[in-house]
Amino acid sequence: MKKLLRLAVATAVLVGSTTSALANDTLALVVSTLNNPFFVTLKEGAEAKAGELGYKLLVLDSQNDPAKELANVEDVLNKKIALMMINPTDSDAVRSAIRAANRKKVPVVTLDRGANSGKVVSHVASDNVQGGMMAGDLVKKMLNGKGKVVELQGVPGASATRDRGEGFNKSIKEATGITVVASQTADFDRTKGLNVMENILQAQPEIDAVFAQNDEMALGAIKAIQAAKRDIIVVGFDGTDDAVAAVKKGSMLATVAQQAGRIGSIGVETADMILKGKTVPKYTPVPLQVITK
């Protein structure tokens, strides 16, 4: 019995000491999915900055599943972390995860996607509406304000879909000579981008430009356009490696680059400022850039 007690005390001391060692310099990063190059780059940006500033970074993958996300957050909160950065799977569904962190008094920073409720110290993201407008402005300029445009939309109902679409359409509407002849979803997916674009090409004899709300769909659409031997400019969004290569090769006109790595690194910088007791803005915009040849 005594032995058992001693073991229990020893374990408690050991656990106590390791958790306190974790506490000060450990940040958690809960990512919506690592099954997407964009978020892998975001994670790498955060890792690099965390290393530079001397933090230990725990990375968890929610696999686009809000239930998995909540479980991840609960697990990581048991590890006594100093701050949690979260890239939500969904702005509404993340509510209970953020409230769990609030209850444990762990400060929360949201990355890329915001949260609609719960207490968040700061939100770090690029402005998708502005990005959509940048794409629209580029298309207007290339077509000299006249032509037929196709929009490939992301997952229906996702905030990126709404915001990028809103910005793009706002910009396009200013040019009365441009009509959007088809607006179809391809779920941010390359294969679907290919199939949906093939179908649209069958329906529309005249298309001058395609705006895809992410690069994966744009790259799929380019394959369809090339196979149909049509001459159509394509603008993507995200600035992934494959898309930048396509822009260099000339098959894609441009991609509006969210700087995924910088979202991660600015997220860690914001976390660092919060932990050092400095005040941070509620929203830190991460600049976008149009990448052309």
Partner: protein, 314 residues
């Protein structure tokens, strides 16, 4: 009377024809040779997976792992092509991997008595994980070697004006049709689905047949992965997500019973075409994405209900 019999026998086909008539009335650009070839090419991938799925479902099983096998096979194939592997070596290795992954599921079902739903659900999850580990979450390009151009033809090429994926799907169909209708293996598949105990007593090697049908399903999923990778000249880590559902829908739309023992490979082909035509039509008519999901679900529901009614009045 003969017309009624024909109608009851061929509800999926009639459904497809009606759907095509409705769509061509709604949209003039639907009825063109180009668009039909386009639909066939897009359908070929689901059709190939669904034909493998038909074997499994005929034995009263189910294979949820096909989408993950497709992605894994695509990734392995893309990296081999990217490393300048001779085309045939890459293709056969990929098909063998698909067959082996399928056979592994089949073995778990046969030797450990695990339900096919669970065994392949586990397979789906683990293989998808393996894809992510293998690709590090990024697309794999097929590269710039000479072999990559030949590889692209498998997905984007034509022979005599017909897209190569369509030809491949056609050959797969003929082979599957022959195996199911004219070989001992085919009779055994139907026998196991009809009544496994009786089949066993009649001397059918049930384990061997089950492992074989899952291997066929895995190999065909890998073949679909090869075609998809060739079309895009790259393999996506997210490739094939939820493809098992489209394949199962095609099989069921084609009139095959999920309880096994009853169904035809021809029906599966028609089922896949119904889904393909529907996807194409919704895009061509520029239907809002929110309504598309309702429309797809509704058509599948209608087709299945009609088919069940046809069966009960038989």
């Amino acid at each position: 009377m003969k017309i009624k019999e024909f109608a009851l026998e061929n509800i999926p086909l009639i459904g497809l024809v009606i759907l095509m008539i409705l769509v061509s009335l709604a949209s003039p650009s639907f009825l063109s040779v180009d668009n039909f070839l386009n639909i066939l090419r897009q359908t070929s991938i689901n059709a190939i997976i669904a034909m493998g799925m038909t074997f499994v479902i005929l034995t009263a099983g189910i294979d949820l792992s096909v989408g993950s096998i497709l992605a894994f096979a695509g990734a392995v194939c893309a990296s081999m092509i990217g490393a300048d592997t001779p085309l045939l070596v890459a293709l056969f290795t990929t098909l063998a991997i698909g067959a082996a992954l399928g056979a592994a599921s089949g073995s778990i079902v046969s030797f450990f008595g695990v339900q096919p739903f669970i065994a392949t659900l586990v397979g789906m999850t683990m293989i998808r994980g393996a894809v992510l580990v293998y690709t590090d979450g990024r697309p794999i390009s097929t590269g710039d070697f000479e072999v990559a151009n030949a590889f692209y033809e498998l997905g984007g090429g034509y022979v005599a004006g017909i897209p190569i994926p369509v030809i491949i799907a056609g050959v797969v169909f003929l082979v599957c049709w022959y195996v199911l209708n004219h070989t001992r293996m085919g009779r055994h598949v139907y026998a196991i689905g009809g009544n496994e105990q009786v089949a066993k007593l009649a001397g059918v090697n049930v384990s061997a047949v089950k492992i074989t049908v899952f291997a066929i399903s895995g190999a065909l999923a890998a073949l679909a992965g090869i075609i998809l990778t060739a079309r895009l000249e790259s393999a996506q880590p997210t490739a094939g997500l939820a493809y098992e559902l489209d394949a199962i829908a095609a099989v069921v739309l084609g009139g095959t019973s999920l309880m096994g023992g009853r169904g035809r490979i021809t029906g599966t082909l028609i089922g896949a075409l119904i889904i393909g035509v529907l996807n194409n039509a919704l895009n061509i008519m520029d239907v809002s994405s929110y309504f598309q999901m309702i429309a797809k679900g509704g058509v599948i529901l209608l087709a299945v209900v009609l088919d069940r009614r046809g069966k009960t009045t038989e």
